[in-house]
């Protein structure tokens, strides 16, 4: 499969009966290689970790980019990169239905610590692409300028350290101004390269959105999604609610949303080709509130559960730009993509309340296969990008979007995790924490 493009996979698939292809040269992404409901089920077999990262203040003064040679001052933290160490915490950010006046609100709480995140972010030229193991040429950190970076030696460790993984990724900084004050956002996407403990042998993707603090730490949300067909990291049992700590980031609000198609009749269509040999796919989905709970406590060890709200928060649409003919992405060579996304939020009467528009500027996708459904094309994909603007209660909004998703192709079933990171110094989008989605 690795040498074949998605279109080739599609042609080899069974029961190709879709009709939505705009031209004979493009495959029908809605065709059902396997039944839609089956593919949707397979896509949802993931363990999801919605976490909050708080900088380890004690670490900053010893941070270095050259731990093997501290006397090489290329490694001075904050110069050509950042040596990041954050403590990972449980995190709830439950979206409540919008009202006409105020838009949606988020009941947000950071809970107990569950692990650590350590990574070296090396600044890179903007055209330095995904290249695990390759160092970028020295590029100086400039907090006032958009910059790219690579995430080398990313170590996620949970609980007592037995369950862990190492990853590689890429990211960008986004300087913004909030009430006249500079603030430096960072977005990033990474891939699990090697796991241990419960992560051994599993594939997964993680995304980050947050703030680079004045102490050169990372403060924000990390969403990790692990393909888990055997349920090693999932549970159906209720995980106790988190124990909230003092809000470490009162200025930012994070809306976590789960997106799926309404049903199998919803078609994905081709949009105008963007050029460069790419296609555009227009993908509608319903966005609901979701709670990704996890813990490392108790005899079962690290485990996650998912609870999805019943009410649709937004009838969302994305236009995805990618090379349909590229071979399925691998850990070394993922397939890049970009998107243009529109979130029209609705109230309980279904009326439009306001919109948010976002462009994913850096996205990577990896080929995905299911032992239970041989020949079913699918990808896991993740990325990030800046919020471009909004209407209604979102007028003047700033922030970032991360996506961490799995999709089938023929049928084009979706299992989307989106996090809208909204800079919210006045807490316009915050609600009191009032329980869970149970």
């Amino acid at each position: 499969m690795k040498s074949e493009g998605i279109s080739q996979q599609l042609q080899a698939g069974r029961d190709v009966r879709g009709t939505s292809a705009p031209s004979p040269s493009l495959p029908d992404v809605n065709a059902e290689t396997y039944p839609y409901e089956m593919v949707q089920y397979l896509l949802d077999q993931t363990a999801n970790f919605h976490m909050f990262a708080i900088p380890d203040a004690k670490y900053a003064e010893n941070a270095t980019l050259t731990p093997d040679d501290p006397r090489d001052w290329y490694g001075l933290n904050g110069g050509y990169g950042l040596d990041i160490r954050s403590v990972l915490h449980r995190f709830d950010s439950i979206v409540q239905l919008a009202t006409i006046d105020m838009g949606p609100r988020v009941a947000q709480a950071v809970g107990e610590s569950t692990g650590t995140f350590h990574c070296r972010w090396l600044l890179s030229p903007n055209d330095f692409n995904w290249a695990p193991g390759r160092y970028p040429p020295p590029t100086l950190f400039d907090p006032w300028h958009h910059q790219s970076f690579v995430m080398l030696d990313c170590d996620f460790t949970f609980g007592n350290g037995k369950d862990a993984f190492r990853g590689y990724g890429i990211g960008r900084t986004f300087p913004v101004t909030v009430n006249g004050r500079p603030k430096l956002l960072a977005g990033a996407v990474g891939n699990i390269m090697e796991g241990s403990g419960k992560f051994r042998g599993l594939q997964g993707t993680y995304v980050l959105t947050g703030t680079i603090t004045s102490g050169l730490g990372f403060l924000g949300n990390i969403t990790c999604r692990v393909v888990d067909p055997q349920g090693k990291l999932r549970t159906e049992r209720e995980i106790p609610s988190l124990t909230a700590i003092s809000d470490p980031d009162p200025e930012d609000t994070f809306m976590v949303l789960r997106g799926v198609k309404k049903d199998s009749t919803v078609r994905t269509t081709y949009g105008p080709p963007p050029g460069g040999g790419k296609v555009s796919l227009i993908t509608p989905a319903q966005m609901r509130s979701v709670q990704y709970n996890f813990t490392d406590r108790g005899p079962e060890g690290l485990r996650s559960e998912k609870r999805v709200g019943q009410i649709v928060i937004s009838n969302y649409s994305a236009t995805v730009f990618f090379d349909l003919l590229a071979p399925p992405g691998t850990a070394d060579t993922p397939v890049p993509f970009t998107t243009h996304e529109l979130y029209p939020f609705i109230n309980d009467g279904g009326r439009d309340v306001g919109t948010i528009t976002v462009d994913i500027v850096e996205g990577v996708s990896f080929g995905l296969s299911f032992p239970a459904a041989p020949g079913q094309p699918a990808v896991r994909f993740a990325g990030f990008g800046p919020i471009l603007g909004g209407t209604g209660p979102f007028t003047g909004i700033q922030g970032m979007l991360t996506v961490n998703s799995l999709i089938g192709i023929a049928p084009h079933a979706l299992s989307l995790i989106h996090v809208l990171h909204i800079i919210d110094p006045d807490k316009r989008f915050r609600a009191a924490l009032n329980g869970s989605l149970r």
């Binding site: 006397r71 090489d72 001052w73 001075l76 933290n77």
Partner: protein, 438 residues
Amino acid sequence: MADGRGSQEYPRGSSARAAAPPSVQLDTNSGMYSPEIIQHLLDQAAFFNVFAIPDPQHSHTVIYAPGNANGVIGVRVSEVLHRFEMDMQPPSCESGVRATNTVGQSVGKLDLRWMVIPHEFIARPDREPPPTMLDPAHSQRFAMQEGTFTFGDGQDGFRSFGAGRTFPMMVGGRPKLVAAAVGNIVEGFGKFRDHEGNFTLCGDLAPDEGFLGHIVVRIVDPNGNLRTQAELPPLVERPDPTPQTTFLTWVGQKGKGPDQENRFSFAPDGQPRGLNIPTELKRVQVRFTTQGSGGIRSSELTIGEVIGSEVGFGPLPPAGVPLTGTALTPFPFEGVARYSLYDGDRRTVGAITTNVLEGRRFDMKLAGAPEEPTFRFGFFGPIVSGSGYFRGVEGIFYGASGSVLRLPPGAHVVTHFYVARLSDPGGKFRATVSGAMS
């Protein structure tokens, strides 16, 4: 800091460095002269610390984009120059790091035309920049297209050209647009005739008010006509125009011993990627006057005890990049450095890490040793982190220097005149008693 021989600023967003191996034009000769002789020759320079305050007698002229009465693209300002003295107290664990800042009597004038320029624009005195709108919310580059300094009765002075950047910052809860720039003398007159030199400025820029800040001018003065060893008339203190800002100053010079030798930094592929450069930091005082029959003249640098250490890194340029620095095309460089200040018992009081985002190096002939590879240069960049007494500090670091540099194991002789401009609304870094050196 890296002083430009082995350092290079590159266009953002370019991977030129990735494609080309570093060009190490090894000039490792030990030289014909002892470091002590070279140091003496290098220090034949006059320093003028002036404080620029908008001239209330002259209105500033805002320059608008053609056909756009709201689009500011530049400003023509008239400034009154004042004597300015910064006297550091010896750092101590008890009282921290503090300096007196004293603005004195007027000594001259400065007329400047600032023009905003695109980020990648290569500013030159013979090239008018394209109209570029000022955006106070974002960091932008600018050219000081015409700058005329006059001192005393106007007979002495120089015309200059320079370029720099704005940095939106928050000081005392109010947004400020900080400007920093490096300039070069294009033509001197009066006592400055036939002198070469450069200056670095840093202060607040407001198009409707002008520039309010410090300028350090370093003039190569082999014949001593701009210096005196006689006692200078005292500074007549005037009200502090920037009480929320404190300027600290020190010099960096090479000490003795192997720990003061420059070393190559090697990338993981074994190729040299830059230079590691240490120096010793020392207290410094320098005064000047325009009063009396001698006209404008500065004291010699009075260099005091060692108060700290510097460790820094500057990247090597790629192959093919011209290494020369001329008045029309100075050699651009960048680098990272950490400045640790300690007390008399060598206990660290605090440290700052700074990124030189813009350095401009000019080649010169050193009088008395013309075959030595000699440079004068200016630089500036943000303080990216602080520790100890400097924890949480924000500001800009800048300076003006002279050096003779050969690549390792060759000799390096340097005198950096460093200034840290700190946001200091609480007066944490201000001393009330001068730390004057005897």
